[in-house]
Symmetry: none
Subunit: 361 residues, 2 copies
DNA sequence: AGAGGGGTGT
DNA sequence: ACACCCCTCT
């Protein structure tokens, strides 16, 4: 049986707003690690994964692995019945034919209880290899959303080029061409040599498989398909959550405190997530007065080699709907390999994978 | 070649929002005076003119007259890619087959560059005579917008009557009749005898031609046509900008300092525009606390003789979309002559001309 | 409370 | 496809 208590409904609401248009039905995978979700989008082009960490819940109990097949539209409707600051309790009995959501006002003077029918969904669990990316760019998620929105007025595709100078998004279309260049920020998340951050990653157990995909993988995943997905269930979830935990730190310790953070890396994740949240708050307060509040925390670029990839803006626009979940987004790119768009938030993360268009000059 | 730099994208955005539904394609006329636009609306009923003064740009360079044929929809799309406080640079090379817009964030960490295809547009340049109007009413632009919106719920036409008491807008329709009366403000922009303000205007060179239109002009422009437009290119732009520069002052010196402002009238325009902007700011700050911020600066009426004219609300609604550009709007009316609706803003002005309906009451 | 974005209707 | 209205996010 599952019983998970979350202090605020707002994360769940934002999560569902983010993915409900990408995925109609899918299994929520509840287990001792927390609640996860993995699904191809409806047109089978993009892959979304979500993980809510068990130890980020106010309380969490899950006796066994439970695949909970939900219709995300229905779940969204039910979540609309919760106020943002309601305390949410998610319950499922062992037969798992329905999911119960309990919404309590903060002072418990109102309690809503909603039951949702579950469905059986046959869903292969895809293994997602832990890729070492050639370029990792972390910047304002609202800036990301803004760029995708702006450029989608011009064309259907965006070319993303990353080099030492910064990251450039370019779209061409009938009415004209547009390009947006974000320069890496001096003083904060500036361009950093990869080895420094990689060495920290080596401390993790069973991370990294191969850094690059096989060429034929990209062949068949040429356009509308996530190329580097494998069917290796065993090591997927650990990999994903370890890897995602990693990325924001790169930006974190760009400030001043690398060694300290490395120490913390051995500690429970709860502690680390707290640090992330705190830092984000600082970032906002710090930047609040300089007028430009999209530039929060600047643009961090970690570059192993320059990349140039082209993607469908339609999907990026969808991914950018996760911006309310996190102030920062991380784009992970290697040439001819699917893009990983990652959002970290206090309770977990959401990752999107999208294969590049081919012939992307 | 043209290169014009504007400290903030917001004026351009507002301008295009204001006219993009009225005009589809038109030439931007860049020359040493600045950037101008003149176009009939798509149904050839109303006339719009815009002027952005060269000396109000942060920097301005235009070597020769360049007609830049733009699709306003495309330009609007591109301007949506600029944030309000972005610095905008407009560039066109001498062959003028495309227009480049550069959007830089205030701290230059983001640079957007957009190229827009230009088109050849054959467009006669209409001469607009400098008319002395029988009634000139200056009041809150949002009030104007509100009245147009409110009355358009009742009928398709509005009768505008101006006399010493004030200005009355009346609409009749099936569900009932409505009328809004704005009284001239005591203490501020009150009704003023025309000679006083006319004498100031007399200080300008080459102003005023004839005060009234020829009757046959109105005949052919009876309903859907701007009647008093002549094909006299020479004196149009100077006249327009002189005249428009004049109007807000009427309201300005209603405060206490008539003579001083008359002195300034001889000074360069740059100086005067600055004064206008400053006064507007004061007006906002002053009124901020009395709750009614539509009544800013009151209602100023300069009346030579009473007028009563009827106009299509559809067009007035469109004109009122310029309200974000200026806190004040000026209506200039003479019986049986097209209405001039004028908005002044720091970088220039926008004027709308609309012929009255006949049988107007 | 205001502005921007998304969705719906013409 | 464009315009208008409503809702959400800032």
């Amino acid at each position: 049986m599952l019983e998970a208590r979350l202090a605020s409904a707002t994360v769940l609401k934002k999560l569902l707003d983010a993915i409900k248009e990408l995925v109609t039905d899918c299994n929520l995978e509840a287990n001792e690690d927390g609640i996860g979700l993995q699904a191809m989008d409806n047109s089978h082009v993009a892959l979304v994964t979500v993980q809510l960490e068990a130890n980020e819940f106010d309380s969490y109990r899950c006796d066994r692995n439970m695949p909970l097949g939900v219709n995300l539209g229905s779940l969204t409707k039910i979540l609309k019945c919760a106020k943002d600051n309601d305390v949410v309790t998610i319950k499922a009995s062992d037969d798992a034919d329905s999911l119960t959501l309990l919404f309590e006002s903060p002072n418990s003077d109102r309690i809503g209880e909603y039951d949702m029918k579950l469905m059986d969904i046959d869903q292969e669990h895809l293994g997602i290899p832990d890729t070492q990316y050639d370029a990792t760019i972390t910047f304002s998620s609202t800036e990301f959303a803004r760029i995708c929105r702006d450029l989608s007025a011009l064309g259907e595709s965006v070319k993303i080029e990353v080099d030492k100078q910064g990251i450039r998004f370019t779209a061409d279309g009938e009415i004209g061409n547009g390009s947006v260049l974000l320069k890496h920020s001096a003083g904060r998340g500036a361009v950093r040599a990869p080895p420094a951050s990689r060495s920290r990653k080596a401390a993790k157990p069973k991370v990294k498989k191969e850094a690059k995909r096989d060429p034929d993988d990209e062949e068949e995943g040429s356009e509308p398909d996530v190329a580097n997905v494998e069917s290796d269930e065993e090591d997927v979830k650990p990999d994903v959550q370890e890897e995602e935990e990693e990325k924001p730190e790169v930006d974190e310790d760009d400030e001043d405190e690398e060694e300290q953070e490395d120490d913390e890396a051995e500690q429970p994740k709860k502690r680390k997530a707290g640090a992330v949240a705190k830092k984000e708050t600082n970032g906002r307060a710090k930047k609040a007065k300089d007028g430009e509040d999209d530039g929060e925390a600047g643009v961090s670029i970690i570059l192993q080699q320059s990349v140039s990839l082209t993607f469908s803006l339609k999907y990026l626009l969808n991914f950018a709907k996760s911006a309310p979940l996190s102030k920062q987004v991380t784009l992970n790119m290697s040439n001819e390999v699917p893009l990983l768009v990652a959002f970290e938030f206090e309770q977990g993360h959401i990752n999107y994978y999208l294969a590049p268009k081919i012939g992307d000059d």
